[in-house]
Symmetry: D3
Subunit: 132 residues, 6 copies
C-alpha cells in the first residue's frame, strides 16, 4: 500500500496523532488519506509537509478553489495518479464543478502542447516579456 | 530567433495576416509575439493552435485570469522559459497581482514536491478517491 | 505483463541466457526481474543496457548505495512506478535504511519544489555559478 | 533578472534580512544568491522555503554531500538551468569532486534512459518488488 | 473508469455520436476507445481534440506510421500509461513491427539519457547549431 | 561553456582523440560538437555514450531520418535546449525538410496535450490495449 506501510490512527504515536488531528480539524473531515499515513513514518517530513500545505493552501489573494485547481493542474501535468485522484476530490469539495474541471483540463492540455511548440521551434523571448 | 525564423506582419501572406489580425483584435493589442511568428511557417499549425487557444481561453465557467494562471502553473511545472515569460505577462494583463503570482508559485512548488512524495512513497489511491 | 511479453530463462536463447547469467552472477542473486525479461525481445538493447548499467553502477568514486539512491531519486522525480519499486529494493539491498529512504525522498521533494520556484520566478544564474 | 526583481540586502526589510543573515550563517558564507533575492518578494515563501531547506539539508542519516548530489540529480533530471548551476556549486563546496560529478551524471543519464524503457515496454512490477 | 465516467454510444447525444461516427469512419474501425468516451463529457473538448488529431495525424510529408511512432515516443518519454498502450496499438495497426518498436524505444531511451547529460554538464549550444 | 570545460581536439588524450576520430568518420564531418567535448572529461562516459549512439542510430528497421526525428521529438518533449538545437541540425542533415519538421512538432504538441487529458481524466486502459 506504500513503501513503508501506512500508519493508522490507532497505531500512531501521540506526535503523529497531533498532526492527524490538525489535518482533520482544518479540513473539517473525520478521516485521513493514505498520503499522510505513508509520510507518518518520518515525523519531520509529516510535520513539515502538513505545515507547508496548511500555510500555502489557506485562502489569501487566491481563494481555496483556485488554489486547489492550480494544484490539480500541476498534478495532471506531472501525471501523478495519486495526486490527480486526491486533488480532483479536494477541488470538488472546494467548489469545482464538472464544467470547471473540463475547462481546467482543456487549459492544461493546450498549455502542455504550446510549451513544446515554443521549445521545439526554439522561439526567443520577446523583448517586452523580459524581466527587469 | 527561431528554428525557421520569424515571419513579420509585413512579410506575411494574406492567410497569415488574417490570423495575426484576429489575434490582435481578440487580445485588444497592436502587436504579435514571437510564438505566432514562428508558427506562421506552418499555416495549418498556426490556424489550429490559435483557434484552439481562442476557444479554450475564452471566459466560461472559469474567468480569464484563472485560466491564465493555470496556463502559467503548467508552464512553470514544465519549466518552459518562453511560456513562463509570455504567460506571466498575459496573466498580469488579465488581472494577476504580484501577491497572486507569489501565491500561485507557492502552490506550484508544493504540488511538485508532494507529487514526488506520493510517487516516491508508492502511496496507493484511497478507495474514496477512485473514479466510478 | 509487457508489450512484447516476458522471456523466461527456460525459453531464452543462449545469447539471452548469457546476459541473464551475468546479471545474476554480478548481483549475487538467483532470479531475473521483469525489466530484463521484457528487453530480451531485442538482444542488442538487452546487451547494451546491461553492459551500461554494469559499468555505471559498479562502485567507483561513489559507492554502491549512493549510486542506487541517485537512481531512485531520478525515478521518483520521473514518477516511474516500475523503477521506483525496483530501485527501492535495490537500494535497500545495497544498504539503504528506512531513515535514509525518508531523508532521500525529503530531498527529492524539496528539490522538485525549488526547481519550479527558480523557473517560475525566472531567476537569472548568479555570475559566481557560471561555468568557465 | 527575475519576475519581480531581486531584493538586495541593503534594500531588504528587517524580516528579510533576518532570513538572509541565517542563510549566510548556516552556510558559512558572506553572500546571498539570486534565488533567495527573488523569493524575498514573498516573505512567507522566503521563510518557509529556507526553513524547509535548512531542516532537510542538515546532515542526518545521509551526509551533506550525498544530499547535495541527490539535489543535483533531481535538478539535472528536470533540466532546471538555475538549479543545476547552483547545486553543482553547492555539491562541490560540500566535497563533490570532478570524478564524483561525472559518476553522478552517468547514473542520472542511465536512470532516465531505463525509466523510459520500463514505461515504454509496459513492464509490470514484479511480485517481489510490491509494497506490503 | 474515468473522472466523470465514460459515455457509451447508446447513451450519447446526437452531437457526441456524430464525433464517434467520424472517428470510427476515419479509423476504419467499429469501436471507440475510452479516451474519447471520457472526453465526451465536454463536447467542445471532444470536438476540438478529434478535429486536431484528425488533421495532424493525416499522412502528409510524414506517413501514418512515422507519425504514430513519434506519438508513441512522446508518450513513452512522458510515461503516460494509457497513451503508451493506445498508441502502441495504433502504431502497430499503421505498420510498426516488433523490431521497429524495439528500435524506437532504444532511441527514446538514449535521447532521454543524453538530454540529461547535455543539461547536467551545462553544455553551451554550438555556434553552428544556433537559429538565424 | 560547460561544467568541467570543453576538451578541444588539440588538447585531448590519445584515447579521447580516438573517439573524436570515430565520431567524425562515422558522421562524415570534420568537427566535433560541444556535447562530446564536455563528456570527454570522463573517458568511460564518452566511450559508452558514443558506442551506444553509434549502435542505436545506425539504420535498421528504421532509417536514419526517422531515428533522428524520434530523437528530436523526445528532446522537444523534455524541452532540452541543447538537444533540440543539435538534433534539429542532425535531422536536417539526414533529410528532414521544413515541412517534415513542422509536421513532427505538430504531432509532438498534440501528443503532449492528449497525454495530460488522458491522465487528467483518469482514463482506464481499454481491455483491447492491454499487454499479454
Amino acid at each position: 500500500m506504500a513503501t513503508l506501510g501506512l500508519i493508522q490512527y490507532q497505531n500512531a504515536s501521540a506526535e503523529v496523532r497531533a498532526v492527524y488531528d490538525d489535518i482533520m480539524a482544518t479540513r473539517k473531515t473525520d478521516w485521513i488519506n493514505n498520503f499522510w499515513k505513508a509520510l507518518a513514518h518520518d515525523l519531520a517530513t509529516l510535520r513539515r509537509t502538513w505545515r507547508s500545505i496548511k500555510e500555502i493552501m489557506a485562502p489569501g489573494a487566491l481563494d481555496a478553489v483556485t488554489k486547489e485547481m492550480i494544484y490539480l493542474a500541476v498534478s495532471a501535468t506531472n501525471q501523478c495518479g495519486y495526486c490527480i485522484a486526491s486533488h480532483t476530490a479536494a477541488a470538488r469539495k472546494a467548489g469545482m464543478t464538472d464544467t470547471m474541471l473540463a475547462e481546467l483540463l482543456a487549459v492544461v492540455g493546450v498549455a502542455n502542447e504550446t510549451n513544446r511548440l515554443a521549445s521545439g521551434y526554439q522561439v526567443e523571448i520577446d523583448e517586452r516579456f523580459r524581466t527587469p
